[in-house]
Amino acid sequence: MSDRIFGAVCVLLSIFYIWVATGIDLPFLADPVGPRAFPYIIGAMLLVGGAYPIIRPDDEPHWPNLRAWMEILFAVAIMVAYAMVLRDLGFVASTAIASALLSWRLGATPIRAALAGIGIAVGIYVCFHLILGLSLARGPWGF
């Protein structure tokens, strides 16, 4: 069933992709092929490729249980939040919080996770910023 859904998504995606491609502006002096042809070829490939799993799906993959889904969703939320607050909190604070939360969800005790978060943030800051000179996000405190 998963393969069938995936195939259907690909087919819909390919139709949408080809439809958008028909609307690409053609410049006044175009080359013989123009900017639309290559997307048409790719769209067709996706359409045909996507149709196959609908007709002949593989074995059902082993999907995680609800709990594991929540864990993954939580991790995605942490990462999105990290990207959003990175500029406001600065690199060290946001990285410490994000990696502490991740390591807590991967099974560390809260105290150890907090220590790991601080360790990872400071470690990366020292290695990449102080030693290697990579520019990291500056927060209100300058780090």
């Binding site: 900017p35 042809a37 290559f38 993954i72 995605v76 990175l86 994000a98 991740l102 390591s103």
Partner: protein, 511 residues
């Protein structure tokens, strides 16, 4: 003679203090990355590209760093295969078959030393092969016009899954997704915007580094979260002891290493075969030749030497098409190609003419890195064993954060970070559904070059599509592409079944 001159020139480029230091760092990091289960060579190189790139390293040092990581990861994969019975990366799978039984018999030190030497032999002679073969292939590649290049790119996609590919439709889907990603942004030839939906951030297209790091590395973190708490492992159970190898054992496995090297190198050069097939073929050939007393699978040293020589030789062999044609034959070389493109270097025949310092400096660095790796891996292997003991609950967050640091370092844009998370989630689902990730990467990387060669060919022929099959060379490439795509549908089942049989039968023999 010309080759030797070029090689000497390469050594003069590589033998600077900075480059030697980078090679050492790369070898060290690479071995760790290879040894850690779950982080393979493609992942490792993918995480470090943005880092190397945002450090502002020039092309040659950056390449030296990353190819050292690549070679190092191929060495490192064997450590956890032998000690934990968990392959550190996919090609190291075959090493578990005899490596782990050897470790259980108290020969862990011997197995590590022997496999280290086998890795060295494989990688060293493959690099020699690269030196000899690449310039020849360059001469052929210089005959290629845009139409032939378009066919060549098609060959790369068609053969990527290799003979053991499971589902060619899924490979085609993956390639189409990658190519579609590459069409986002402003079309360089006509200047029209495509698939940008009026989002300013998309005008420059999606950076392939963002795609690679998201698909490979972040999706690994999600997989880890799903499987947390399962299959915890400990290294303590096995004592490593002295990491030396008896002279007799070495002499017995010398012919094994030689055969493994040749087989692995050929598997690496051929498109779509890669290191996993290289080590598998090396092991099965060796078993057929040498397994008279049914010792394979029960800790036969030759069963460790063969796959390790094979997979390291394949790693070197895979660099041949990547450097001389600009078309990678494996996942990791695709990632190395991304590195070159990020540095504004287009691999291919012109690279050898325009930037000889990059090519030959790199090749010289491979020789140097190999010797460093041998030295690192014999006396210092216990350090790597200790690093293996860091639990993933601390390691995985660090990996995720380094991904973010690298991508942010390139663009300073939080939009790119969001896009990376999206690709991380996408990578997770694609892996679950058994969609290969490498064609997606390759499509993103090569899409614009592929389109350019198509349109240039059509410009030359003034819109006549038959130009694509207009030369014997192009026709040959198209036939190769079709055969490469169709053959796995016929033979793939047989090859896969045999591969699975070897692994399960050996695993049963251990008990």
């Amino acid at each position: 003679m010309e080759t030797i001159d070029s090689l000497l020139y390469g050594f003069s480029v590589a033998l600077t203090f900075q480059n030697l230091l980078l090679a050492l760092l790369g070898c060290f990091l690479g071995t760790i990355i290879g040894a850690l289960p779950g982080l393979g060579p493609s992942n490792g190189v993918a995480i470090l590209i943005p880092v190397a790139f945002s450090l502002g390293l020039p092309a040659t040092p950056a390449l030296i760093l990353l190819t050292s990581v690549y070679y190092g990861a191929m060495y490192g994969g064997r450590i956890s295969s032998i000690l934990l019975n968990i392959p550190g990366d996919e090609p190291a799978l075959m090493t578990t078959l005899d490596g782990y039984p050897m470790a259980r018999k108290g020969q862990a030190g011997e197995a590590l030393a022997l496999s280290g030497i086998a890795s060295f032999v494989g990688a060293f002679f493959a690099t020699v092969g690269l030196v000899l073969l690449a310039p020849l292939l360059v001469k052929v590649a210089l005959l290629f016009g845009p139409a032939e290049y378009f066919a060549l790119f098609t060959v790369a996609f068609a053969t990527l899954g290799g003979i053991a590919a499971k589902n060619q439709a899924k490979a085609a889907i993956a390639a189409a997704i990658g190519l579609a990603i590459s069409t986002i942004g402003i079309d360089v030839i006509s200047g029209s915007t495509r698939f940008t939906f009026n989002e300013v951030h998309l005008y420059d297209g999606i950076d392939f580094l963002v795609v690679i790091v998201g698909l490979f590395a972040l999706s690994e973190v999600f997989l880890f979260l799903e499987h947390r708490g399962e299959g915890s492992s400990s290294v303590d159970a096995i004592k490593v002891g002295r990491v030396t190898v008896p002279w007799k054992m070495l002499k017995e496995s010398a012919p094994t290493m030689a055969r493994g090297t040749v087989i692995g190198f050929l598997a690496g050069v051929l498109p779509g075969a890669g290191a996993s097939l290289g080590s598998f073929l090396a092991y099965s050939v060796e078993k057929r030749i040498g397994d008279k007393d049914k010792t394979f699978g029960k800790g036969d040293p030759r069963g460790v030497a063969a796959p390790e020589a094979g997979n390291n030789a394949a790693a070197g062999g895979a660099l041949v098409p990547m450097l001389s044609l600009g078309v990678p034959g494996s996942g990791t070389t695709a990632v190395l190609l991304a590195m070159l493109l990020a540095l504004n270097i287009t691999p291919g025949p012109l690279l050898f003419q325009k930037n000889p310092e990059v090519v030959w400096g790199l090749i010289a660095a491979l020789f140097i890195g190999n010797i460093m790796l041998l030295l690192l891996n014999l006396p210092m292997v216990s350090i790597f064993v200790r690093i293996l003991q860091i639990p993933p609950k601390y390691l995985m967050p660090a990996v995720a954060m380094i991904c973010f640091v690298g991508i942010y370092g390139i663009s300073g844009s939080t939009f790119d970070l969001m896009v990376m998370v999206v690709f991380g989630v996408m990578g997770y689902f694609l892996r679950k559904l058994d969609i290969p990730l490498v064609p997606v990467i390759l499509g993103t990387l090569l899409g614009s070059e592929m389109e350019k060669s198509l349109r240039r060919a059509m410009q030359i022929s003034d819109g006549d599509w038959t130009t694509l099959v207009g030369s014997p060379l192009a026709i040959g490439l198209w036939i190769f592409a079709i055969v490469g795509f169709v053959a796995p549908m016929i033979f793939g089942r047989i090859v896969r079944a045999r591969q699975a049989r070897t692994i399960t039968s050996e695993a049963n023999d251990q008990d």
